[in-house]
């Protein structure tokens, strides 16, 4: 104990986290490059990346990963912004709506995939609905390699449904930090609702939008459950390929290469967001 007393309290309190993160974060992170860039006998090599790029699934995995992101994120951002604006109105029952909207936050992407499978499967709710409406005599098959567009649509819907609340909550907590004065000033000048949103709320919300986009993009790149449930390997993405290479092929080196590619894509996306949504000095001054 006397030794412990000599160490400053903050250091004592921080050290468990530091030790833990070194063991279960830093070391694996260093290890992953070792795996991807080395051969079995620890010699530097690009062979794992070569094997990854030459694989027949690589091109479509790259394309699908990017396409899904481009389809999912904008829809999610708009829907989440709308939902956040609604809840932020503070009408009677607004908290009730907030809870309802937030429900998918607790649902895993695997469970979400299974939920939407019940809609898109051959004898599922979508076919059933169309039959009841009289549009359809025999059920359509949506989830097969012959209908890649339907598969993508199903995955996009699943992911939009599940993860929009995450964006909403980030935007909502940003909205609540906007001082009422700005809105009141806009009201005084007779701004319309749209003008308020466009010229007051959106610019002030930029930092929240930025962090929501960065966060969401990183998570969307990792999306894995819905892919496996709704498409399997017929619609490969980087995350699912990393999984297949580890579990089925039993090659952790190529799996690590895929994981690094995923990281690289996340970094590129983050960089784009930071550049495109740069908060200028004068705007920082306003806040």
């Amino acid at each position: 104990m006397p030794l412990l007393r000599k160490i400053p309290l903050p250091v004592l309190l921080l050290s468990p986290t530091l030790v833990f993160l070194t063991l279960f974060f830093l070391i694996p992170l260093i290890q992953v490059s070792g795996l991807a860039f080395q051969s079995q006998d620890s010699v530097f090599t690009l062979a794992n990346f070569e094997r990854m790029v030459r694989d027949i699934y690589f091109d479509s995995a790259l394309r699908n990963t990017v396409v899904l992101l481009i389809l999912i994120i904008p829809v999610q951002l708009v829907l989440a912004f709308g939902a956040a604006l609604i809840v932020n109105q503070r009408f009677r029952g607004s908290t009730f709506f907030l809870y309802i909207y937030a429900i998918p936050l607790g649902i895993s992407d695997l469970a979400a995939g299974l939920i939407w499978l019940s809609i898109f499967t051959e004898r599922g709710y979508l076919n059933s609905l169309m039959h009841n409406l009289g549009v359809l005599e025999r059920p359509l098959i949506f989830l097969s390699s012959l209908t890649p567009k339907w598969m993508i649509a199903a995955i996009v819907l699943t992911e939009v449904w599940r993860a929009t609340p995450l964006v909403m909550v980030i935007l909502l907590s940003g909205l609540q930090m906007i001082a009422k004065d700005y809105i009141e000033a806009a009201d005084t000048f007779g701004c319309s609702w749209w003008q308020k949103v466009r010229y007051v709320i959106l610019p002030l919300l930029k930092p929240s939008i930025q962090s929501a986009l960065i966060m969401r993009t990183m998570l969307a790149f990792q999306m894995f459950g819905p892919i496996l449930v709704l498409a399997g390997r017929q619609l490969p993405v980087f995350a699912s390929e990393s999984y297949y290479w580890y579990t089925t092929v039993r090659n952790p080196r190529v799996a690590a290469a895929y994981a690094l590619m995923l990281m690289a894509l996340s970094l590129v996306a983050t960089w784009i967001y930071l550049v495109v949504l740069r908060t200028r000095e004068e705007q920082v001054g306003v806040m």
């Binding site: 309290l9 903050p10 250091v11 309190l13 468990p16 986290t17 833990f20 279960f24 974060f25 070391i27 694996p28 992170l29 290890q31 992953v32 070792g34 829907l79 709308g82 609604i86 709506f97 907030l98 909207y101 937030a102 936050l105 607790g106 649902i107 895993s108 695997l110 469970a111 299974l114 939920i115 499978l117 019940s118 809609i119 499967t121 004898r123 059933s128 609905l129 039959h131 609340p165 995450l166 907590s173 940003g174 929501a212 960065i214 966060m215 990183m218 790149f221 990792q222 449930v229 399997g232 995350a239 990393s242 999984y243 580890y246 952790p252 690590a256 690094l260 995923l262 996340s266 983050t270």
Partner: protein
Amino acid sequence: MRLRKVAFYAVAILFAVWTILPIVLIALAALTPRQELYSWPRQFVPSTISLESFQFFVNSHGVLASTGRSVIVAVATVLIALLVGAPAGYALARFRFRGKEAFRIGILLTRMFPTSLLAIPLAVLYLKTNIYDTILGLAFMHAALAMPFVVLITSSLFLKVPYDLEEAAMTLGCSRIGAFARVSLPIALPSLVAAGIYTFVLSWNEVFASAVLTVHNRTLPAHIISTLNVSPLNFKFAGGFFMIIPALIFIFIVRRYLLSMWGVAINK
């Protein structure tokens, strides 16, 4: 004005329906008798509510065992994450020290890495150290995923507990630890529990690392994902609904903390 109000409520309700409807549908699918699930034309509402699929799911090989493991892993994750992370959160809230900003940014950065980037090398490391395919190994991984959240959330919790109260307790003769245990901890406890529940759900829902780090000792999501190709529809629907029930209950319990938790964990 009246029209605008109606339109506003209509949009709000529409979005609520969009959120709720898929959950209702999977619940109905899970409670539909197997035969009706495969019949055509298929009705939206089953003719009878049947627990057939549920029984089939629960009695399937490996489901009960993996559910039990999921719970143990999640509880272990909560304990590890809180025991390791909460002191750091407290330090961030209470002390000024050199490198505090660096520490905070470092913690934030750990959220930027994909799960696969950690899970794959950890699996290789675990194989060497014999904790591969163990409950504890997976709990460590999940705790690493939850750590940034736990540190940041506990720091904001303790910021809200006025330091004056702790000081008052200390002038009245409490030790530092006593002041913390008798004053700060009871005030922060409900939010700490909420953070713990959130961590539980994070572990309960986690798929990728669970599927990579376990082989025989699967958790429920890992079990479901590794048997996807061989399991029938009624197994999948019952499994999907089964997995979301605890998550729904937990989200309902922590609903008051949702905004503060997510807002803090992400925006700061």
